[in-house]
């Protein structure tokens, strides 16, 4: 009985209409919310969520007020699959409908795949510079670097998500515990003068000479947050002290423990590659006699030691470099025209929308063609 009611609910066409209507409202309000929240926060709160929460300003409680993108999309997917299997049986005159539905299911799953698996980062290179990693623009990591060995550094990279909880972080590769005393998602670090009445931000490294202040999160697209944290290194025999780490502080701060050298640095999250890219030349061409941009291009050298690959590539507008599952787009440049910024997109499910469109297209063509054929034959017979 209950099962039948559930089946009826999930296969109902009314549910489809309701989900589509909710989806439209979600897109509308999610777009408006970007004004106040900024793109990334609005995306997370409206589309990458099961429920949208609201609470009065200043209050520390929130109540769910609307279904989020995952809930609407998930129910729509279940509805589509359930309705399809309940209503349509595999027969030659329904092949078109099957194809259309599979195309839509693939589209929904592909978008979920993109949401979960895709990764965007940036590669900034000055002319002559070589790098083998790109950096996430809006995520930081605390890198605990064991620099004892001569050739290689061993890096334990703790993502921002774990730092935000201000907890103790233990890892098998670390002989000590990293205790996050404080984390500021956006901050400013200033010099602490000798006469300053403010307490030092931390006891070790740059900490005694610096103060850190939390600042409001950035919501517009032109700026980004600069996180800082205060961490304590606790060994089995006691604490080694506290350190202020911040994206404002360039140099890793060092300490020793058990005859090994370590360095601490908070930096944009890095994605290392098995190959390197060197910027040979950046060009910013303008139309003669004007300042109007005509072309932006980056001539880079791609080197992969393990395969011996070593070639020159020209990346320009609408002509990205696709390599090893990543796509490098010409995204921006330094104002002195001596450096380039490439957007690095890793999206394993980038092909699913193409397949979906082909399936839906084929399904529609088949369905309409068989109807048209049947109709024409009927008229002739008549």
């Amino acid at each position: 009985m209950l099962f039948d009611r559930l089946i009826n609910f999930f296969t109902s066409l009314k549910l489809t209409v309701a989900c589509l209507a909710l989806g439209m409202l979600l897109v509308f309000f999610g777009t408006l919310a970007q004004v106040d929240l900024g793109l990334y926060k609005a995306q997370n709160e409206f589309f990458r969520s099961f429920l949208i929460f609201w609470g009065p300003k200043g209050a520390d409680w929130k109540v769910p007020v609307f279904p989020g993108g995952y809930l609407v999309g998930g129910v729509l997917l279940i509805n589509l699959v359930a309705a399809h299997f309940k209503r349509f049986h595999l027969s030659h005159n329904k092949v078109g409908i099957w194809l259309v539905h599979f195309g839509l299911i693939l589209l929904l799953l592909g978008q979920l795949g993109t949401d979960i698996l895709s990764r965007e980062s940036a590669l900034h290179l000055r002319e002559g510079e070589t790098r083998n990693y790109s950096e996430a623009e809006r995520q930081a990591e605390l890198a605990v670097i064991d620099s004892t060995e001569r050739e290689l550094d061993k890096v334990v990279a703790i993502p921002q998500r774990l730092l935000m909880h201000r907890k103790e972080i233990r890892h098998a590769e670390l002989p000590f515990t990293v205790k996050v005393k404080d984390f500021f998602a956006n901050s400013i670090v200033d010099n602490r003068t000798a006469e300053s009445g403010e307490p030092p931000s931390a006891s070790q490294g740059i900490g005694p000479r610096a103060i850190v202040k939390e600042t409001p999160r950035v919501t517009d697209m032109e700026h980004r947050d600069v996180p800082s944290a205060v961490v304590e290194i606790v060994t089995p025999t006691g604490s080694l002290g506290t350190w202020l780490v911040s994206e404002y502080i360039e140099q890793p701060q060092t300490f020793s423990y058990n005859n090994r050298s370590y360095a601490l640095t908070l930096r944009p999250r890095r994605f290392y590659k098995p190959y390197s890219i060197q910027l040979l030349q950046f060009r910013h061409d303008v139309y003669a006699g004007t300042d109007i941009p005509k072309n932006f291009s980056s001539r880079v050298q791609l080197q992969r030691p393990e395969t011996g690959e070593n070639r020159e590539v020209l990346i320009y507008m609408n002509n990205p470099l696709r390599y090893a599952g990543e796509t490098y787009y010409q995204a921006s440049f330094d104002q002195d025209n001596r450096g380039t910024i490439l957007q690095v997109v890793h999206n394993p499910s980038w092909l699913t929308p193409y397949f979906s469109c082909i399936l839906v297209g084929l399904g529609l063509v088949y369905q309409f063609a068989t109807h048209l054929l049947g109709f024409t034959l009927k008229r002739r017979t008549a």
């Binding site: 793109l39 795949g113 979960i116 698996l117 990764r119 590669l123 900034h124 290179l125 000055r126 002319e127 002559g128 510079e129 070589t130 950096e135 623009e137 050739e151 290689l152 550094d153 061993k154 890096v155 703790i158 993502p159 998500r161 774990l162 890892h171 590769e173 400013i188 010099n191 000798a194 006469e195 490294g205 740059i206 000479r209 697209m221 032109e222 700026h223 600069v226 994206e247 404002y248 502080i249 360039e250 140099q251 701060q253 930096r267 944009p268 004007t290 300042d291 932006f296 507008m317 609408n318 787009y329 010409q330 995204a331 921006s332 330094d334 104002q335 002195d336 001596r338 910024i341 957007q343």
Partner: protein, 367 residues
């Protein structure tokens, strides 16, 4: 497909362990120092680590910059006397000069001074084409007892306090002072990287904060500048692709303000939108046209009647109290935008000169 994707997706945000080759400091192109505290290539951040260009004086050796330093140099003569040079940019304009000067003086065993003494101690110096102050301290290092001298040049610009320091043997630093001032002159504040969130293949855009609202026929700066009398104390600096002109104004107490002049075809996106955009730069709310009518005034210019706005607020980028006086001058089929923005007192002092500047500007096809 969903389950594996979820499993893979969840695992991406865990602690990662890997081995990498030790990072070698990459040689900066043409002596260009760039603090990587902020990711190379990241969108500009208020107070983000800036970049610097300079000409290295002979005998100076670049050394690895330490914490908080953007650039570091070592100077030594044949007698073994040496000095250390550091460039330290600090976001947030970093406290009062009195506090800083007394701290520097204490490092060479000199007594503290009062606010009234400061103007006598500040020597004017040119830093990258802009007026800065040089403070010179000499005395005995309280720790070592050695005679030492500390030169510190200060420049505050775009929300960052720049400190250029030379510290070392008293006599040697005195000898190196001309090289130090030449170095200061050679400094260039390199363009900071910008990034837009336009589609990957879209041509990047310029400094949006100074731009009128875009219009389809916007022609920006391809035409000439108006003819004008630049008031004394205004220093013209390159304004970038989208500004017709930019002027910097600095007062003796290091307060700063800037005048931006831009031009757009048509009405530049509308008066209300542009005034509200300016209000937004001071953290003020958007007003309706009816509300704007109450706060706007007008002024006669050589091109006819112009609209004037005068507002105060807090610049969200610097958290400093800031005043903005803006004039929107419609001229034929285009509109000129004049904006004086910066330290409240300085803007108050410069307002009359700014208005005269706007009123007397002669436009290219009206000449």
């Amino acid at each position: 497909m969903v389950l594996p994707a979820l499993l893979i997706g969840c695992g991406r945000d865990d602690v990662q362990v890997y081995k990498v080759a030790k990072e070698m400091p990459q040689r900066q192109v043409e002596g260009q120092a760039q603090a990587a505290a902020l990711p190379a290539g990241h969108p500009e951040v208020p107070g983000a680590p800036p970049k610097l260009k300079y000409k290295l004086p002979s005998g100076w050796q670049e050394t690895t910059p330490g914490q908080m330093r953007l650039a570091s140099f070592h100077v030594q003569n044949s007698d073994g006397k040496q000095a250390d040079v550091a460039v330290v940019p600090m976001p947030g304009l970093m406290g009062s000069d009195l506090e800083n000067v007394n701290r520097w003086r204490s490092t060479v065993g000199m007594p503290a001074v009062t606010e009234g003494d400061l103007p006598k101690l500040a020597q004017p110096v040119e830093i990258g084409g802009q007026p800065g102050q040089l403070y010179e301290q000499s005395g005995e290092n309280p720790g070592s007892g050695d005679k030492s001298r500390l030169l510190v040049a200060v420049l505050r610009r775009e929300g960052i306090a720049w400190f250029f320091k030379m510290n070392g043997d008293d006599e040697f630093v005195a000898q190196q002072k001309p090289a130090f001032t030449d170095f200061l002159k050679s400094v260039g504040f390199a363009a900071r990287s910008m990034r837009t969130d336009l589609p990957p293949s879209h041509p990047p855009i310029g400094d949006m904060s100074s731009l009128p609202m875009p219009t389809a026929a916007s022609s920006a700066t391809s035409e000439g500048k108006p003819g004008w009398q630049v008031p004394p104390g205004w220093k013209e600096i390159p304004g970038g692709q989208f500004l017709v002109a930019k002027f910097m104004i600095a007062s003796s107490d290091n307060a700063q303000a800037a005048v931006n002049v831009s031009m757009s075809a048509g009405d530049g996106g509308g008066l209300a939108d542009n005034i509200n955009r300016w209000r937004g730069q001071l953290g003020l709310n958007t007003l309706s046209e009816a509300e704007l009518d109450k706060v706007l005034s007008s002024v006669e210019t050589s091109a006819g009647k112009a609209t004037l706005v005068d507002v105060s607020g807090t610049d969200p980028r610097t958290s400093q109290k800031t005043r903005l006086v803006g004039a929107v001058v419609p001229q034929g089929n285009r509109t000129w935008f004049y904006k004086l923005m910066g330290n409240q007192q300085l803007v108050a002092n410069e307002k009359d000169a700014f208005l005269k500047f706007v009123q007397t500007a002669k436009y290219p096809d009206a000449l």
